[in-house]
């Protein structure tokens, strides 16, 4: 069997897995019948939720993009003092789960329980998803096109807009897409922020005894929003290809000398980091110090820690493996089939955990009863939930790996597999690493899927944090939140370091528009 068809078969298999939740939603919608469907969807409350969800989506995607690009620019392109430190601090919010961040803010001020507050807190949690890929892309840019633009009389600002930004667009778009999908599916943080969206409303429907089907059907609206988002990103991305062979004689761009502006920039960075890290960490410290239920049950803490790390590592391995054929198809075999496979994997990412988990319950208990509530099934569930995080990263690095090198390898008599292993894989390894780190962070904080599908008796840091904080034992919850943050530090550090690595062979340049 030749490689393309093998990849297509693998990719299609992955796509079928990830479309299970969609199938479940379609089934529930068809079951409901047109009359009830109309009554459920066409009413003022749905309009209100739609408005909230869309405005939150737009607000956070714009804010994370602006902040992510600006922060990356300061770190990579200026001589701001302590650059490596700032880089790590700017990536660090990834290690703080959004619901922990949200709790910190709400205990500080109720002003965040509003649209502006929701945009603020969600942005502070998710902007690193834009920041990191943009740093990586900026590091890889060579300066020649910018030199040319400026020598032809363009101002620095116009050069940034017309020469730098377009070459950053795959990174910006990939990051913004991830942010958008997360906002659609976010529950814990928005619940605390008292900002109702489709996802929080869907949980509300499931909580009311006779409205479970209504929850599933409402999730269909989220699918529609997700498809819109995916289409928009696709349109914005266009048909450009970015790979080139060889580093040539290029040189990195000169850093902008801040001079007298340095104190202002430093102050802005300090203020920003106080918002992103200071607030949640201070609230955690407060609860560790004052809560009477604060205790450190070493046995329970270490067993939750152990299973969290083991599940996250195993889930990451499975998810990353499944992402490879999807990313490969999307970049190397562009076309309707490959696009459907790739875009299909994003749908589950925009859905509330409860919908995905119930879909998997419904399908697996009937299709593969012996596997129900076993480890392999849980790992597949993680893959379905978080595949896009890996696909986006692997795709970005594949886009910068020239197919020409594969052709050369094949023409020199290497087999397809050997070419993949010896040529393609080393080129995309950094992307695989970043994707894996992102998946690890997501799995270690995952809640609903773990509750419903893990082997019975499994406790993780996230399930224990949630158990304790929902029974108002914030003191007892705090050690779990602290461990969650500690567990996330290595992956966050890996992501920060990966983003500043020099590209090995290829660097992005627009070859054809």
């Amino acid at each position: 069997m030749s490689r393309p068809s093998a990849a297509l078969v693998a990719g299609a298999a992955v796509a079928v897995l990830t479309l299970i939740p969609l199938g479940y939603i379609v089934w529930a919608t068809v079951e409901m019948g047109p009359g009830e469907l109309h009554d459920l969807l066409i009413r003022p409350r749905v309009g209100e939720l739609l408005g909230n969800t869309v405005t939150l989506l737009v607000g956070t995607v714009v804010a994370t993009t602006v902040i992510g690009v600006a922060a990356a620019f300061v770190v990579v392109r200026t001589d701001v003092p302590f650059r490596p430190l700032w880089h790590v601090l700017l990536a660090a919010p990834l290690a703080v789960p959004a619901f922990v961040n949200s709790y910190g803010w709400v205990s500080l001020t109720h002003a965040v329980q509003s649209y502006q507050g929701a945009v603020l807190v969600v942005t502070l949690s998710y902007y690193p998803l834009v920041y990191l890929p943009v740093v990586a892309a900026l590091m890889g840019l060579e300066a020649a096109p910018e030199d040319v633009a400026r020598s032809l009389g363009r101002s620095s600002w116009r050069t940034f807009w017309t020469v730098v930004l377009p070459r950053l667009s795959p990174a910006v778009l990939g990051g913004a897409l991830l942010v958008g999908l997360h906002v659609l599916a976010e529950f814990g943080a928005l619940q605390l922020l008292a900002f109702p969206t489709f996802t929080t409303a869907i949980y509300g429907q499931y909580r009311s005894a006779f409205a479970g089907d209504a929850g599933t059907v409402l999730a269909g609206v989220l699918v529609t929003l997700c498809v819109l988002l995916l289409t928009l990103e696709l349109l914005a991305r266009g048909r450009r290809r970015y790979a080139r062979v060889g580093r040539g004689a290029g040189h990195p761009a000169e850093r902008i000398v801040l001079g007298r502006r340095a104190p202002a920039v430093l102050l802005a960075l300090l203020g920003f980091v106080t918002l992103t890290l200071g607030v949640p960490l201070a609230s955690l410290a407060h609860w560790l110090a004052v809560g009477s239920s604060t205790e450190f049950p070493m046995g329970e803490l270490s067993s939750a820690l152990g299973s969290t790390v083991a599940l996250a590592l195993a889930g990451t391995a499975v998810t990353t493996l499944l992402a490879l054929p999807v990313a490969w198809l999307a970049v190397r075999r562009r076309g309707p089939a490959a696009m459907l496979v790739e875009r299909g994997t994003y749908v589950a990412n925009a859905l509330p955990g409860i919908v995905v988990a119930l879909a998997l319950v419904a399908v697996s208990i009937r299709a593969v009863p012996p596997l129900y509530q076993t480890l392999p099934l849980l790992l597949v569930a993680y893959a379905i939930l978080f595949l896009p995080r890996a696909v986006v990263s692997v795709k970005a690095s594949l886009e910068n790996a020239p197919p020409l090198l594969d052709d050369v390898s094949r023409s020199l008599g290497q087999s397809a597999w050997s070419t993949f292993r010896r040529v393609t894989l080393p080129l995309v390894a950094p992307g695989i690493g970043s994707g894996a780190a992102l998946v690890f962070l997501a799995i270690s904080t995952e809640l609903t899927g773990t509750l419903l599908l893990a082997p019975i008796g499994t406790t993780t840091l996230a399930t224990e944090f949630w158990n304790n904080s929902s029974s108002v034992q914030y003191g007892a919850a705090a050690p779990y939140a602290l461990l969650l943050i500690l567990v996330s530090i290595p992956a966050t550090f890996l992501l920060a370091r990966q983003a500043t690595r020099k590209p090995t062979v290829a660097e992005p340049v627009v070859l054809a528009a």
Partner: protein, 335 residues
């Protein structure tokens, strides 16, 4: 090379986690889907294990997750027992026909207002609806005599509550059962106009304590537990119990039932019996939970207003949270 190493690591991890999850003993066991607070039920389970030698395996989650999971699983469910925080989740599973009737000796442990007539499940703990108010914003003389009063214009902008929770839906069901549909519609309309909506009782408590809103509707134990914790979210507040059979004095019941499809029927029945017995109830009364015990032999004390003084309304527990309640909430724009 890389792939092979990855595979080896993965295999090792799989073996490790599978082993640790299985535990490897083949003695008698009961699988409990537990939506009550984990710490509380774990304490009861441990005592039951010690007494009977039956291994209790807990799957913890919330009412909404586990009830929907049970209904989705249907008769293939691995669960033997279902425990909830509030009774509507029990009604949901009962409506799907998944419960096996309980033994008469178990039902006899609990007064009949805390269980449905069909005997398919029983209450084992309860929480009282209360109003929490900020002492610097509301004078005791201005407190409402009925929960229905907070929909009146003088409470505009002063009241907060959490309408998406099963907790609040149970309260609305009680209003519906006691006052009829039109009164409930009017009340919800007034609440929508007057109230601030938060997601979660703990958020309501916190917002009243910080003066964000003057008063809120919650369950009693949120306040008592916060007082035992550090008082951070409740020191500026007091509780107002409605009493006098007002809908605002509604008691919501945590339920226990045995699933018909379970593989360990006998031990499952024993577990629910133990949970409602004096021995099991004492564990609940002595725990951090501060929820009311329902076996009359073991009342909750510890500074919480006694169950016997609450004077709750008479509501048929199996009629709660009907489809009608959800429709009313949807019409009012709360869901």
């Amino acid at each position: 090379m890389t792939a092979r190493r990855l595979g080896a690591v993965l295999a090792a991890l799989l073996t490790l986690t599978t082993l640790s999850a299985c535990g490897g003993d083949d003695g008698p066991e009961v699988v409990v889907y537990n939506a009550q607070h984990e710490e509380l039920i774990a304490a009861v389970a441990k005592a039951f294990e010690k007494k009977t030698g039956v291994d209790v395996k807990l799957r913890n989650g919330s009412d909404l997750e586990l009830a929907n999971q049970l209904v989705t699983e249907g008769d293939r469910s691995p669960a033997d027992v279902f425990l909830t925080e509030n009774s509507p989740a029990m009604s949901l599973v009962d409506a799907a026909g998944l419960f096996e009737p309980l033994d008469q000796s178990t039902l006899a442990n609990i007064p009949d207002q805390f269980r449905p007539d069909n005997g398919h499940w029983t209450g084992f703990a309860a929480r009282s609806t209360v109003m929490v108010y900020n002492t610097s914003m509301v004078k005791p003389a201005d407190l409402p005599t009925s929960l229905l009063d907070v929909a009146k214009p003088e409470w505009k902008g002063k009241i907060s509550f959490s309408p998406t929770g099963a907790d609040f839906q149970a309260i609305v069901s009680a209003v519906l059962a006691l006052k009829g549909e039109q009164a409930t519609r009017d009340w919800l309309k007034g609440l929508k106009a007057n109230g601030t909506v938060y997601d979660g009782n703990n958020v309501v408590l916190e917002s009243v304590n910080s003066g964000q809103t003057a008063a809120g509707i919650i369950y009693h134990y949120y306040w008592y537990r916060d007082q035992e914790e550090a008082g951070d979210n409740s020191d500026n507040t007091k509780l107002h119990f409605f009493g006098e059979k007002d809908p605002g004095a509604f008691l919501s019941t945590s339920g226990a039932g045995v699933l018909a499809g379970g593989d360990h029927q006998k031990d499952a029945r024993e577990f629910v019996k133990y949970l409602t017995s004096a021995e099991g109830q004492k564990i609940i009364a002595d725990s951090y939970a501060l929820e009311y015990t329902l076996n009359p032999d073991v009342p909750l004390t510890r500074g919480v207003k006694p169950l016997s003084e609450l004077d709750p309304p008479d509501v048929d527990i199996s009629s709660l949270n009907s489809k009608r309640t959800v429709e009313l909430l949807q019409d009012a724009g709360f869901l």
